[in-house]
């Protein structure tokens, strides 16, 4: 098989450039772009492929970049941070103390908000309470002296038995509520309501007590105003004048479980942060809307390694994008840090901490609307795969669980995870934003994008590396193995359909792997788009193209150069291409040219080079440079063209000329060339291979729908060409062998049809015996059926049981009808006819003949 060529699109080239730059820049890039509409300049931070708008200056980002050392683990984590920040998903890192969980959060936030931006944080301790998370009441507008007095009094107040009592009472009630929710006695909305009532009761009680206390102690005037001071969560949502803040909640697992549940409110639609959180204050329920900059990230230690074994409450686990930092990976990082003497040894640092190409994934700017395209077919397939992955993972987790390595010993995890369906929603959201491109096809690679998302949302939760590996194998099995294979109605080529009918009497069902299905569907989207593109008329303009000969001639040379055994062909292919390119596309123009012309020459020359390669890949095309040495359209070549169209209609023909469209069209019309073959591609500065491919497809489409065909002299040839284009390397040989055996009899005065039929039926139907008769006379415009050929068909039918297929552009007449009644081995088809129908008819005749011969044998 020959090596496949694919030329990257401009978008792909841009993506590759960004990837290269990111690699050079250590994975973090600062970009400034102008909004084309508002002309406003915006600054972006590109973190390993994820682009985020930043308030920080370039200097700030450079300074922070120089401060941090990104190990492989850090790069993975930083990418997670950037992804979840841009998708507004709450993120939790679980790992050993000192692994750099909050460090990375903080550095990222500073790269987005500026190095001197205050980062809102909440360090969890066993004494963290709703006062820290939600807030508390305090008198408003106190002077410094008054504040000091108030603080002193507050300390006294906090120690008062009445306050201690109400605090204990609140804790008791909250604990009960928490138990009811955990044991599912009440659902989430009931919990939220009850929780609201409880906080209202307690916070207001606390306020009243404080006011009483202040009045009794004459600390404040009776009319002193009070204000609610928002805690970390409410500030994160609506502080900063409504813009919100990113919030780091550190040591989350050691916050008492009652208070962890306050964060349940952050779980919103699609697995992202909720649009608002509520607090029940004096004036009833107050909603704190999520601001533009709101984002919440959590850091937690392994409960199994934490004194007191505090865990993150299970319902909370579902609201977070959970990433475990496995101890093994962290050990590797620690070792690397030691080997660089804490980052001082610059040379080693460069060696050990480089931006890994694997972690840099550039999302496609305009991805596929996977849930809308192809009448939702792609979306259905994706949803099925995700459903399967989710179910398998949850089932595995429920059965086997997870384990954590403590001093080299594996222990079953006590941290519980809850899966209520937010993970698949997060995955879908990821697919909207981070589609990657397949290097092989250039299309969106959904299997790879789903794999990335599966790693993030599912495997990221596992601490056990072996379990992760098992899950990865499961993914591969579902995506590319037999387990995930599904029966699917796919668009079969005509050759496949015909063969199925001949062999099985029906078109068989096809099973494909999930990857094949997804890739196939994506490909069909792009093919559709290419066809749309092709509707635009184009002109190929080549300036004195060095392509002096038709590609046929070049093909012959190519074949000679690659005339090796099949298995060696792929090796010799590139060599042959190089040789031919050197021959036909010299690096410098032969004639002396002015400098500016030389540039143009190179551009066009390069474009043609690529066209040339592309056509070689297609292996079925004729390229003709119509211009003669004087720069005019050559009459000789036009004449040859006409000849080609008449006689070699199955080959797509690409015409090249430096003339403008009008001149070209005039010449085409003057020489009676079919306009369908006079489609032209314009090449300006870059090659438009898509257009060339579409052009070739439009001349000889792979699939022809009956609807798209109109009555046309060439129509049957097109069908034939379609079949023929299913590459069969042995087709010529097969045809000549069949012809030598006289197993195909084709009677037709119409040369092109005759040739086409020979090739098509010989190559596709592989008939042992068949007679195909074209009843139409050449140059007969009366649409009458040729009586001589009718007689010939009758003669054959009388003597043999061979299936006889009659073809005509006209309707069936009475004499042909009589013939059909009399001889069961004759079938008539009015063109255009689908070759599949011919195959079905052939099969019927053969089967019927067999049945009858069995009957005859039985009688004997």
């Amino acid at each position: 098989m020959s090596e496949k060529f694919r030329f990257p699109s401009l978008e792909e080239k841009k993506e590759q450039e960004t990837k290269d730059t990111l690699k050079e820049e250590g994975g973090i890039l600062y970009e400034t772009t102008k909004d084309p509409e508002s002309e406003e300049e915006k600054n972006y931070l590109n973190v390993l492929g994820v682009k985020i708008e930043t308030y920080a200056s370039k200097e700030d980002v450079e300074e922070i970049k120089n401060e941090i050392i990104l190990s492989k683990l850090d790069q993975r984590l930083l990418r997670r941070i950037a992804e979840s920040y841009s998708l507004k998903q709450a993120l939790l890192f679980e790992g050993d103390p000192g692994a750099g969980k909050t460090f990375l959060f903080k550095k990222f936030i500073k790269m987005v908000h500026g190095k001197d931006a205050p980062v809102l944080d909440l360090v969890g301790t066993p004494r963290t309470s709703e006062l820290d998370i939600l807030g508390h009441w305090a008198p408003k507008g106190l002077s410094e002296d008054e504040t000091k007095k108030y603080d002193d009094q507050l300390r006294e107040y906090m120690e008062l038995p009445t306050n201690q009592g109400s605090s204990d009472e609140f804790n008791k009630e909250l604990e009960k509520l928490n138990d009811d929710f955990t044991s599912k006695k009440i659902d989430e909305s009931q919990f939220q309501d009850e929780f609201g009532n409880l906080t209202t009761k307690y916070v207001n009680k606390q306020k009243e007590q404080l006011m009483d206390f202040c009045q009794t102690s004459k600390l404040l005037k009776p009319d002193a105003e009070w204000e609610f001071k928002e805690g970390a969560l409410l500030k994160a949502y609506s502080g900063n004048e409504g813009r919100g803040y990113p919030l780091i909640v550190d040591e989350f697992n050691i916050i008492p479980s009652n208070y962890q549940q306050i964060f349940l409110q952050i779980g919103g639609e699609g697995g992202a942060l909720s649009e608002s959180v509520s607090f029940w204050g004096n004036s009833g329920k107050t909603s704190y809307e999520r601001g533009k900059d709101t984002w919440i990230c959590f850091a937690s230690n392994f409960p199994e390694k934490t004194p007191g074994r505090s865990e993150v409450v299970a319902p909370m686990s579902d609201r977070l994008l959970w990433q475990v930092l496995p101890a093994e990976e962290y050990q590797e990082k620690k070792k690397a840090i030691k080997r660089t003497a804490g980052g001082r040894l610059q040379k080693r640092k460069k060696e050990l901490f480089t931006a890994e190409a694997d972690f840099i994934k550039i999302p496609i700017e305009k991805g596929v609307e996977w849930d809308k395209v192809l009448d939702e077919k792609l979306g259905e397939q994706i949803a099925d795969v995700v459903d399967m992955l989710d179910e398998e993972f949850v089932q595995y987790y429920g059965k086997v669980g997870d384990s954590v390595s403590i001093q080299g010993e594996k222990r079953r995890r006590t941290q519980q995870m809850e899966f209520s369906g937010r993970n698949p929603l997060r995955l879908f959201s990821y697919l909207d934003n981070f589609q990657v491109r397949s290097q092989e096809s250039g299309f969106v690679d959904f299997p790879e994008t789903i794999k990335d998302a599966f790693e993030i949302y599912y495997l990221g939760r596992l601490a056990d590396l072996e379990a992760k590996e098992k899950m990865r194998s499961l993914f591969s099995e579902i995506m590319t193995g037999d387990t995930g294979k599904i029966k699917i109605q796919v668009e079969l080529s005509l050759r496949e359909k015909v063969n199925d009918i001949i062999e099985n009497g029906k078109i068989k069902e096809i099973t494909k792997t999930r990857k094949e299905v997804l890739d196939g569907l994506v490909k069909s989207i792009f093919v559709e788009e290419e066809e749309k593109e092709d509707e635009k008329e184009r002109i190929i303009v080549s300036e004195d193209s060095p392509l002096k000969n038709s590609l046929e001639k070049v093909f012959n040379e190519y074949k000679e150069l690659t005339n090796e055994k099949e298995e060696k062909k792929s090796k010799t292919h590139s060599k042959a291409i190089d040789t031919l390119l050197k021959k036909y596309f010299p690096s410098q123009p032969k004639n002396e040219r002015k400098e500016n012309e030389s540039k143009k020459y190179h551009t066009i020359n390069n474009s043609l080079k690529e066209v040339f390669k592309e056509l070689l890949e297609l292996e079925q095309a004729v390229v003709v440079n119509l211009d003669n040495s004087e720069g005019d359209i050559s009459d000789d070549k036009l004449f040859n063209m006409r000849d080609l169209i008449k006689n070699k209609i199955t080959d797509p023909i690409i015409l090249l000329s430096i003339k403008n469209k009008e001149t070209f069209t005039r010449e085409i019309e003057k020489n009676n060339l079919d306009k369908k073959h006079a489609k032209f591609i314009k090449i300006d500065t870059g090659v438009e291979l898509v257009s060339v491919r579409s052009l070739v497809n439009s001349i000889a489409p792979n699939e022809i729908s009956k609807e798209s065909l109109k009555y046309d002299k060439q129509i049957f040839d097109k069908l034939v060409a379609d079949v023929f284009f299913e590459k069969n390397p042995n087709i010529e040989k097969e045809i000549s062998e069949l012809q030598a055996k006289e197993k195909i009899i084709v009677l037709s005065g119409n040369e092109p049809i005759k040739q086409s039929l020979e090739r098509a039926l010989g190559g596709v139907l592989e008939l042992d015996k068949a007679v195909v008769i074209d009843l139409d006379s050449y140059n007969d415009n009366n649409n009458r059926l040729n009586s001589t050929r009718m007689s010939q068909a009758k003669e054959i039918a009388m003597r043999t049981e061979t299936p006889i297929i009659l073809l005509s552009m006209s309707k069936i007449d009475s004499s042909t009808n009589d013939l059909l009644d009399k001889y069961p081995n004759i079938r008539f088809f009015q063109q255009p006819v689908n070759i599949v129908d011919i195959a079905k008819a052939y099969k019927e005749i053969i089967d019927k003949t067999k049945e009858e011969s069995i009957k005859k044998d039985g009688k004997k």
Partner: protein
């Protein structure tokens, strides 16, 4: 050990706290660390005040934390000493407020902390003055029995046991 030798030991310890600059294992940024003096028994001849008095006059400020619900005093004093480049010696007599733990943790990790609703600002960033150091003094029993934060020792660099 006689008191003189113990004072020498403290002096050496304070020297270490002052001069020891570590490189954050995750970044290239040099960091100063908080110090912790642990009195091994309640009847120790030395107190937090003794630690403070070893510092040259005017170099530091001494405060006592004896209310587990108070953090305002600590934040205020820290902001003043930090502005003046002075040391802050703390006699810890109770489980400190979670916000004090939080502030100390951030100072250790990145030599800066963020304070909420301070001096009329919703959030204020306080960067550790290069001359300022924070030294906590506490009894071992208090640390083991009363302090609820399980990683208390992790928020300090040099630790002196007396």
């Amino acid at each position: 050990m006689d008191k003189g030798k113990l004072q020498e030991k403290i002096k050496h310890f304070l020297d270490i706290v002052e001069k020891n600059i570590i490189t954050n294992p995750l970044s290239n940024k040099p960091l100063y660390e908080n110090g912790l003096v642990v009195f091994e028994n309640n009847n120790s001849d030395l107190s937090a005040r003794d630690v403070f008095e070893i510092l040259p006059k005017g170099k530091g400020v001494f405060i006592t934390i004896n209310n587990p619900h108070d953090y305002g005093e600590f934040i205020k004093t820290f902001s003043i000493t930090n502005r003046e480049g002075q040391w802050l010696i703390i006699d810890l007599q109770c489980d400190p407020h979670p916000k004090i733990i939080g502030a100390l943790k951030k100072i250790t990790e990145d030599n800066e902390t963020v304070v909420s609703d301070f001096k009329g600002k919703e959030l204020s960033l306080i960067k550790l003055n290069s001359k300022t150091r924070i030294v906590f003094c506490a009894n071992r029993l208090l640390i083991e029995d009363k302090i609820s934060y399980p990683y208390f020792y992790n928020i300090f660099g040099p630790i002196l046991n007396l």
